[in-house]
């Protein structure tokens, strides 16, 4: 299975280890992985701030970079959601089912729904608290939203069940927003930080050593609060756990 | 052009396509024991359901539930202990703060503990002004959900009617639940034997 690896801008710059873990993990489950060089940004930050149209050139660039891949896979739920929802409005000569939005997957949903590995040969003997990010939950169905009367499920939990030794907890208010929200965290920084603090405290209350999830942007926001307040917990992208060594 | 015509003209030019009346894609829930569910949910709403025993009179039940009530207003002929005929009163203000009103309800709704009352007394003030209210409903008159409730014949013809679920309540001060905001402090639904 040939996969084009999509590495969002802030992962490229701030969390390259998440990119490496994604690459290794996809290889481990039998995918042939290519990384089209010189990727920058999908355009989500501009769009959430109210300048979706300014993301047009970036969308065209993404679409061209990944034109030859049947599967485009990236370790960020919110970026993938933006490509799926925003690109149909942005791409010139948009063709349904043909452009990158129709072929892009968040890495956990790709593993869970497409690759379906029976084992991961991973071991992570720690207690982790699951961060159900808003776009992952409410726009991608990585887990069932607490607002809806639907059967409980979590693709993240299903994948973590393949990891030896890991203990999975979820915070109270399991899918309440952490307050990142892109430009929101800047423009409404008082509320954003208040939301982030509350979220981190609820993760800590589970007794977990790590907060893990499928969105580095939420983790980055929470890590900023953890660092500033020197709190006893760390953030770690879920691919790094799924890719941990036995 | 009248305001009505102006509004209608704008509405007809809203550019919205016409959508058909939808068909539900579900079967409404049913309860194994609707009367038990009714009682449970009425209690959660702050009221209570009381079943009349076969050998009990309405007087007995009302006395049993409200032993201290002194002024009791009711138009029900079988209620011997009534002290006031609310229909004989000219001014509805006289019904305010009577200890107890005893009135007729048509049926209960299991899913929410509500009782449908179609006004059959002269002043509806009694329903809301009495300190406590007893609503008497026929035996087995409990429907499962509101879907069934609104289709009942009693909800087809009325001047004023109300689905009443428990006593008047508010949580407007710090979300603390308090009964008796303006209306009855206590509501008991009596189910006939």
């Amino acid at each position: 299975m040939k996969v084009g690896l999509f590495i969002p801008c802030y992962i490229n710059a701030v969390y390259p280890e998440v990119g490496r873990a994604s690459y290794e993990l996809l290889r481990k489950v039998g995918c042939e992985v290519e990384y089209p060089l010189d990727q920058t940004c999908c355009g989500q930050p501009m769009a959430n701030a109210g300048f979706e149209k300014d993301a047009k050139a970036l969308a065209e660039r993404m679409d061209a970079l990944f034109a030859k891949y049947d599967y485009v896979v990236g370790p960020s739920a919110s970026c993938v959601v933006f490509v799926r929802e925003g690109y149909p409005r942005l791409l010139d000569n948009y063709k349904e089912h043909a452009c990158v939005d129709a072929r892009i997957w968040e890495i956990c949903e790709f593993l869970h729904d497409v690759v379906k590995p029976a084992r991961l040969d991973a071991r992570f003997p720690h207690r982790v608290s699951l961060h159900n990010s808003c776009h992952g939950v409410r726009k991608m169905d990585l887990s069932s939203p607490s607002e809806m009367n639907v059967p409980l499920h979590s693709k993240l939990r299903d994948l973590l069940a393949l990891v030896e030794g890991v203990e999975v907890a979820e915070p109270e208010r399991r899918d309440e927003c952490c307050g990142f929200g892109g430009m929101f965290s800047v423009e409404e920084n008082a509320v954003s930080v208040a939301m982030g603090r509350a979220k981190v405290q609820r993760h800590i209350a589970t007794g977990a050593e790590y907060i893990t999830g499928a969105d580095s942007s939420c983790l980055m926001h929470m890590q900023g609060i953890i660092d500033r307040e020197k709190l006893p917990v760390k953030t770690l992208h879920i691919v790094e756990i799924l890719n941990s060594k036995l | 052009m009248s305001s009505k015509d102006e509004i209608l003209k704008k509405l007809s030019a809203d550019g919205m396509p016409e959508y058909p009346y939808p068909v539900p894609d579900f079967t409404p829930q049913r309860f194994d024991d609707p009367a038990a569910t009714f009682a449970e949910r009425l209690e959660a709403a702050g009221g209570r359901a009381v079943r009349m025993a076969p050998d009990e009179t309405l007087d007995d039940v009302v006395r049993r539930c409200y032993p201290d009530a002194r002024t009791i207003a009711s138009t029900m002929p079988e209620l011997g202990i009534a002290t006031l005929d609310p229909d004989a009163v000219e001014d509805p203000r006289e019904l305010v703060d009577v200890d107890l009103g005893v009135v007729t309800g048509a049926f209960g709704v299991a899913e929410n503990g509500a009782v449908w009352i179609a006004q059959d007394i002269r002043h509806k003030a009694l329903y809301f002004g009495a300190t406590a209210l007893v609503i008497v409903i026929p035996k087995d008159a409990i429907v499962d959900t509101m879907h069934e409730a609104v289709m009942r014949p009693e909800v087809d013809d009325f001047g004023y009617g109300c689905f009443m679920s428990g006593p008047s309540k508010t949580a407007d001060i710090e979300q603390a639940l308090v009964f008796g905001a303006h209306g009855p402090m206590s509501v008991t639904v009596v189910i006939r034997a």
């Binding site: 769009a47 | 509805p92 879907h147 905001a181």
Partner: protein, 456 residues
């Protein structure tokens, strides 16, 4: 900084109060969740409710006329008002014709929207709010901060002090039961002596010409029990086709809003009692224009349950008074923009795009998605924040070229060596009190890939 953001900063500064507000409202959200779980067909109900509203909106003129016909046949009098001014004038005319200056009101968001109470007060009418929360706000001379829980941001001690002054309650007693019953006593004469009663309308049933009014306190019904004139005001979107639709909405309304299976009172006014009158005013006030706006017409499906406020993490932590429109939260952000982008665009920032509002809405309104759309529209309306615009243009410029992007990261990495006070100041958008900057990695993923592949 947006108007909301500035005001929210002050609300957040009182950490204890913010935490209380957040917790109180989240508890309502949790009650709602428990209620939802008792209804297996919940999602089907939401879908049905949304589709009934859509159908009704698509034939709104038809249903309004049907309602008018049936309500008139039932003995009510129906008026039409194209805007707030006409509604207020119609009410005033009815009041004058009838005589009397004591008016008892039950909660109506439309009344707030049209500024009816101050309008009547200017004309010497004593318009008394009878819903406890509304009455507290009226006596405090402050607008409600929630559409269903008007006094949610007021602490019990404040109510105690207020009632001590207004109702001569015991000094220092702030027990909610005591205060509620004091208000009950104090409002009794207002109900009994009212010349006119006024209510809002939750649903107007076209097929029967009946008005449904939902309350927990019974204040609407007590109000209409004495005065011989009942004036009911409603937005034109409140009409529903029939009783079957009423069942759907009453199953959803209170469960969504307060976590009750139904409100204590769901009252249906169909025919005026002998010797009494019911006048209904159908108010447009912008709604027909919103209906023509395909991107935002869904807002007219709203049942006014308040669930989107309770679930909104931003509203819970910033309170109703930080929004410039009289309705706060996701609902208010959207309705404010429909009313006037120029006046109310300062609320559009108050959303982290978590979309919880869209998932709780009992009419499946895409509230979060519409806020996203409004953000896109701001630039075209010349209302975009110039600083934000500049920063986006800057981001766009950097992301637009690989050299600029990777060169930029190298620069930023170097900049990190600067002392912390240079980085974490007000000029750096990412720095906020309480959140540290993320450090850049020594090597980008792109750089690592290039090196690894070269080495392979």
């Amino acid at each position: 900084m947006s108007t909301h953001s500035k005001a929210a900063k002050r609300f957040v500064a009182d950490a204890e109060r913010m935490a209380w507000h957040d917790k109180a409202l989240y508890a309502v959200r949790e009650k709602r969740d428990r209620m939802m779980m008792t209804v297996p067909e919940w999602e089907g109900l939401r879908r049905l409710s949304s589709e009934i509203k859509r159908h009704t909106l698509s034939r709104l003129g038809h249903y309004l006329c049907e309602f008018e016909r049936n309500a008139t046949a039932n003995g009510m009098v129906v008026h039409w008002a194209k805007d707030a001014a006409e509604m207020n004038a119609t009410v005033w005319e009815l009041v004058r014709e009838h005589g009397g200056t004591n008016l008892i009101k039950s909660k109506s968001m439309l009344s707030e929207e049209c500024g009816l109470t101050p309008y009547l007060e200017e004309r010497g009418v004593d318009a008394v709010e009878s819903d406890l929360g509304e009455r507290i706000m009226q006596l405090l001379h402050r607008p409600p901060s929630h559409i269903v829980l008007p006094a949610i941001a007021v602490r019990r001690e404040e109510v105690g002090t207020l009632f001590e002054r207004e109702m001569h309650t015991e000094p220092g007693n702030s027990d909610p039961t005591y205060l509620t019953h004091a208000a009950r006593k104090a409002l009794r004469p207002k109900f009994l002596d009212a010349d006119i009663s006024m209510t809002g309308v939750n649903f107007a049933v076209a097929s029967t010409g009946a008005l449904a009014v939902c309350t927990n306190e019974g204040n609407a019904d007590l109000g209409t029990s004495f005065a011989d004139l009942h004036i009911a005001i409603m937005g034109i979107e409140k009409v529903i086709p029939d009783m079957a639709a009423l069942a759907v909405f009453t199953r959803l309304l209170a469960r969504s809003g307060t976590g009750q299976p139904v409100t204590s009172y769901t009252s249906l006014y169909r025919r005026p009692a002998p010797g009494k009158q019911i006048h209904v005013i159908l108010v447009d006030n912008g709604r027909s224009e919103w209906l023509a706006d395909a991107a935002h017409r869904n807002m007219l499906k709203c049942l006014r349950c308040g669930a989107c406020l309770n679930t909104c993490p931003v509203y819970r932590r910033s309170g109703g008074s930080t929004y410039s429109y009289f309705i706060p939260g996701p609902l208010g952000i959207n309705l404010g923009m429909l009313r006037s982008p120029k006046l109310y665009h300062g609320n559009v920032s108050a959303c982290s795009l978590c979309y919880s509002c869209s998932d709780v809405c009992p009419a499946q309104i895409d509230l979060g998605e519409q806020i996203y759309m409004w953000r896109q529209q701001l630039d075209g309306l010349h209302l975009a924040d110039p600083v934000k615009k500049l920063s986006v243009k800057g981001m766009d410029f950097i992301m637009g070229g690989r050299r600029r992007f990777y060169g930029g990261i190298a620069l930023a990495r170097a900049a990190e060596k600067l002392p912390r006070f240079v980085l974490e100041n007000g000029l750096n958008p990412w720095s906020a009190p309480g959140r540290a900057m993320p450090p850049f990695a020594p090597k980008t993923f792109n750089g690592w890939w290039k090196k690894t592949k070269k080495d392979e």
